[in-house]
């Protein structure tokens, strides 16, 4: 069964789009791979258990696979609580159904009283189901679930005593049935909406097609993963910026000190009447004022230099 056939069968069995099944399978096994690379043993229930093997240097080198019905390659003592989920659940376990009903939206504040009511209802249902024996599934998750159920607090610990005069607690206990019935209707409606939103969000996440993953791309990506390229140094860019700054400074200084034309503008500003256009017949008359104009220009340049200094 190729991966394409696996996607098709899964979509057919769950009656979901193939894209959703593809997204799940890719994400699921990517997470499994990353967990193995980080050195954790991965137990995927009925699929089996994978244990990473490392070199003496601590480098991940190979994987040991154990089928689900075989003994686990990692010895786990009875008193050892292994793994984050099992350790947290066994100590602070709240049934997911109770959380989903009491806290459906995930954004509004949680009312602890609602959770207590749902936990009580869950215990009542468990008491009914305990009368009929249930076969144990031969998976790795079965012992964890047993240990979790063993550490459930007794139902008596959750019974809230109604204090005389405390009308809220009394109403909460007496109207519990009506409250639960109303709440179930709301939760069912919200659950349908949440499922449709989840399906849309799964369809929105795109991944590359499998056909793109040829050998060349694979080897390149793998080498980049284990040997990431060094980041470029910004030193060359810094030198270019400094050079450009120097060029701009030189241009500014040359404009200030290197040209007489700029000083002549100051001359015209001080003597606007001398800017009259000489006619053809009066060019001799304007010769003498031009000499004085040059003197004024020189004075203006000197004044500009003094100011700049």
């Amino acid at each position: 069964m190729t991966r394409r056939e696996l996607i098709e069968r899964m979509a057919d069995r769950l009656q979901v789009p193939e894209h959703s099944a593809q997204v799940f399978l890719h994400a699921f096994f990517d997470v499994s791979k990353s967990m193995l690379r980080s050195g954790e043993t991965v137990a995927l229930g009925a699929l089996g258990t994978w244990t990473p093997e490392h070199d003496p240097d601590g480098v991940f080198r190979s994987v040991i696979y154990a089928p689900s019905h075989a003994a686990s390659p990692v010895p786990v003592g009875e008193d050892i609580v292994s793994g984050p989920a099992s350790s947290i659940d066994s100590r602070h376990f709240i049934p997911a159904e109770a959380l989903a009903i009491a806290h459906p939206s995930g954004r509004s504040p949680v009312d602890v009283a609602d959770i207590v009511i749902e936990v009580q209802r869950g215990f009542a249902e468990e008491a009914l189901t305990e009368e009929t024996p249930v076969e144990e599934a031969p998976t790795d998750a079965a012992p964890e679930e047993e240990s979790v159920e063993d550490e459930y607090p007794g139902e008596e610990e959750y019974i809230v005593e109604a204090v005389p005069g405390d009308t809220d607690a009394g109403d909460m206990l007496t109207d519990e049935g009506d409250f639960l019935e109303e709440d179930f209707d709301e939760v069912e409606a919200e659950g349908m909406e949440a499922e449709s939103m989840e399906a849309e969000s799964m369809e929105g996440h795109g991944i590359e097609d499998d056909e793109v993953e040829d050998d060349a791309v694979f080897h390149r990506n793998r080498d980049q993963l284990y040997h990431p390229p060094e980041e470029r140094s910004n030193r060359a860019l810094l030198f270019v910026a400094l050079g450009l700054t120097l060029v701009v400074l030189i241009i500014i200084l040359s404009l200030l000190f290197g040209s007489d034309e700029k000083a002549s503008f100051g001359d015209r500003r001080h003597e606007p009447n001398s800017a009259t256009i000489p006619s053809a017949g009066t060019w001799n008359e304007t010769a003498e004022p031009e000499s004085s104009r040059y003197e004024l220009t020189a004075n203006t340049v000197k004044l500009t230099i003094q100011r700049s200094i």
Partner: protein, 75 residues
Amino acid sequence: MAALKDILYRTAANIGVDADALQSYADALSSIVEEAHRRGEDVELMTFGTLRPEGSEPRFTPHASLLPPRDGDEA
């Protein structure tokens, strides 16, 4: 040890859905793999590896991307 529940929680976080919604996917995957094993059929687990039935037990062949590159591999 990372149990199936841990993997499902991380997967749900990566693709932005609720972990409970993925439980049915995991169950379907397990049943499909078990059925394929009973039929003596190989199962390619995406880019994770391949389960091949050998005798009564399946044998796992890791995908090349699972293990780090060794010396002399094609660049």
